[in-house]
Symmetry: C2
Subunit: 475 residues, 2 copies
């Protein structure tokens, strides 16, 4: 997998909600495994109203009055003006309705916390497009796609809600988010502690920058997931790369590969083969992220514990190349969705060495990464900016942030998995994939995620209680 | 004094360092009072080296690589690599060398804190011009003159220092600043607590926004200073406005006023008269800010306790209009220095009512203010942005900020003058004018400022000690 491909790939993973067409690879996989029913829908009905707020395109400059409409959703069925709270989902890269539907946790706890639920769409996604159809056109239009602008949108939105919704003014707000949305939730509490009393940052890899964690940890966790999901599973995948290379070295082999994959246009050169391997790698990574204990429809309809199901086909690594690859080729042709943000501030180093993981070795090369960014987007990344802005590992002066991580989730490698202080706490979920805790309650939930959620609720209740306590003191 | 004039005036006060020519009003005043010697220079020699760092013009966007050279000064005579510290002056609106020369406190405590002194120039001032001579040309070029960009400059600079100066990496940094620079110091600790262990924010009116303090408090404090500096002093000034109005109502009177003031071009209409009154008001406000206990050269060479000296001429308010005005007219023709920032984020409401203060009544009119801004700069202010960004009165989750204020200083009205928490502390200096505590030690210093400084040093030492304590724990 090329470095560029890693970038594209991981960005695609960060952007599940933006994928228009369903990634064919996962579709194939799930079809194969007969995952056609959906049991993970929350028990509570998700009824919300849709709203829009005028936001400045640029919060940090004044030479333009240009605004755009940011979309947000409100569900206030369980909200109480007396002693209630506001749970604020800090939207990440995707359509907010998709996140709303995939964050059952908030719906499940709304009644207990007497909470109004607010889901704020991230600028440049869904309907919240600063320049309409031109928003992703070029670097000039993409210039306002930064985490700082997104946080400022959230701050303005919360002010707006408090000003316009009777009863909301003197209520505590809690930020919640998963993945990049979890990073935003944590950073929002750090930068705007006057806006939210605390944050639940689920599967938020806030340390996957610069050299804060080894660049290989991500792929090692993916590999670990496969290793323990079936005998010889990771070994089969490990061997598959050479099998592909061997087949691709002859015309017959290339033809065979093209046929076996039902490709619209046949593989003709080494670049095509590289893309093929990238697609496959992406699928394994995707599976590690959504290795949930029940049938789910997060990136794609999938069976329970999908890696275990995959691994049933990969128990014997010592078969012929074609046999091995026939077993492997259930997942293919992944749709890449890509925005410019990874080429600017969100620079996450990744690598693999083929020893501690099951992938082909690839080092992290910032120069090459930067050159690719410049070629495609006309911008160069600032790899240390996020650390400068948000503090890197030096964040102990902040308070009231829960960092939750699942051990199955490759993003946990860049996450906070140990308590930093009494109020910056880590919750780990041994059987958890990518922010499993944010999903709705499910009969197949492992005990550890139930425990995590109940801890999270306990912290949130404490923040709410402290908020009302200090409010009473003031009056 | 018109609302627009109030704006211009206060901006001028915020920008003493940028005043090229010395304000003639204060020059006249000081000449009158024979203040020609300068005894307030610090005992320690101010020897520093001058450096430059390449900064991005826009930290919050990526569509341009444009950079500029930010100037900063370093004085490391007393710095110790073993157990030392870094005192970082967060430069405000003016030439950094001027602030360096007027912040004797840092020089005085350098040895005790084994500190390297760093003075960072604020973008758009001194030599740190993002677009060279065009920097102030129009709103397009002024677009990057915001507190957020300035704070990001400081963060990048500290990173740069830690990376490039051997021994600096594992040292605690403390932010210090006065007036708008004090606001920046406080906000820097709030937004970048991973960069500085604490902040000393001297005379920082962080609450002079929106409706956090009554808009009249500023002029009331100016009036109070004059009221207690001599019998009938504020009353004489209070009466002077009507005296001017009466004289200005006849041609003879206008002529007399023009002659008495030695004006280059005579007063001809009511607008000229309004300017005259604005100039006078500005001088009184200026004097309140620099009412120091010894001869000083902050805005301008002045005698010790200058308001007392002024008030000697204003003991009898019951004289004729011309006699009253001859007494009054020692201060005039103030040079306005103005940048666009007050028309964007730094929107401070001010007003006077002529009852609780000695000025002509003027209400705060945001619409008019906004219209004036649009006419002059093509931008409209966002009056609530600063509160949204920096928390307004809701800042108790932050730590390690000292807010010092002098009771004589009109800016103390918008400052933090009561402890917020154990680590967000207020120090008041009854006999202090505008950040007197940041000035060099002086034999005429009142005891209260000595006490303030020694408290400030004690807090800073505690922050430094805590830093090294937690560093040891990590290793």
């Amino acid at each position: 997998m090329g470095r560029r491909a890693v970038l594209l790939l991981l960005l695609a993973f960060l952007t599940p909600g933006t994928a228009g067409p369903v990634p064919p690879a996962l579709k194939a996989l799930s079809n194969l495994h007969l995952s056609t029913s959906f049991t993970s829908r929350p028990a509570v009905a998700m009824k919300y109203s849709i709203h829009y707020i005028q936001q400045k395109v640029n919060h940090f400059g004044f030479n333009t009055d240009k605004t755009f409409k940011q979309r947000y959703l409100i569900a206030d069925k369980h909200w109480r003006k007396d002693g209630g709270s506001i749970l604020f989902y800090t939207g990440n890269e995707g359509d907010i309705i998709w996140f709303c539907n995939n964050t059952g946790f908030m719906w499940d706890v709304a009644e207990e916390l007497k909470a109004m639920l607010v889901f704020a769409e991230h600028r440049y996604y869904g309907e919240s497009l600063p320049f309409g159809a031109n928003s992703l056109k070029d670097s000039t239009h993409l210039n306002f796609l930064t985490s700082e602008q997104a946080l400022a949108d959230f701050a303005e939105l919360i002010k707006h809600l408090k000003r316009t919704i009777p009863g909301a003014k003197n209520q505590p707000v809690i930020a919640l988010g998963g993945s990049y949305g979890g990073m935003l939730a944590a950073w929002f509490r750090m930068k705007y502690p006057h806006m939210v009393v605390g944050a639940l940052a689920a599967s938020a890899p806030i340390w996957q920058f610069e050299d804060m964690v080894p660049c290989g940890v991500f792929m090692e966790i993916v590999t670990r997931d496969f290793r323990k999901s079936g005998p010889n599973c990771s070994e089969s995948i490990h061997r598959s790369w050479d099998a592909i290379n061997r087949l691709a070295s002859t015309g017959t082999g290339l033809h065979w590969l093209s046929e076996a994959l039902h490709l619209c246009s046949p593989l003709t050169n080494s670049q095509d083969v590289q893309h093929l391997k990238d697609w496959i790698s992406e699928t394994w990574v995707n599976l590690a992220m959504v290795d949930y204990p029940y049938e789910s429809n997060f990136l794609q309809p999938l069976p329970a514990w999908p890696i275990k199901v995959v691994c049933q086909y990969l128990e014997n690594p010592s078969v012929s190349d074609t046999q091995l690859l026939q077993n492997i080729f259930q997942a293919l042709n992944v749709y890449y969705n890509y925005s410019g943000q990874a080429c600017t501030e969100m620079v996450m180093p990744f690598c693999s060495n083929g020893i501690d993981d099951m992938f082909e070795p690839h080092s992290w090369n910032l120069q090459e990464f930067s050159d690719d960014c410049f070629k495609q987007w006309g911008v160069r990344p600032r790899p240390s900016w996020i650390t400068t802005m948000y503090g890197g590992k030096n964040i102990s002066s902040h308070t009231n942030i829960i960092f939750s991580n699942g051990d199955l989730d490759p993003w946990s490698g860049g996450g906070v998995t140990k308590d930093i202080t009494d109020t910056l706490v880590a919750i780990t979920i041994p059987e958890g994939a990518h922010h499993l805790d944010l999903r709705a309650n499910n009969a197949f939930d492992p005990t550890t995620v139930l425990l995590a959620r109940s801890l999270e609720v306990r912290y949130m209740k404490q923040w709410i209680k402290n908020f009302y306590g200090s409010l009473r003191k003031k009056h």
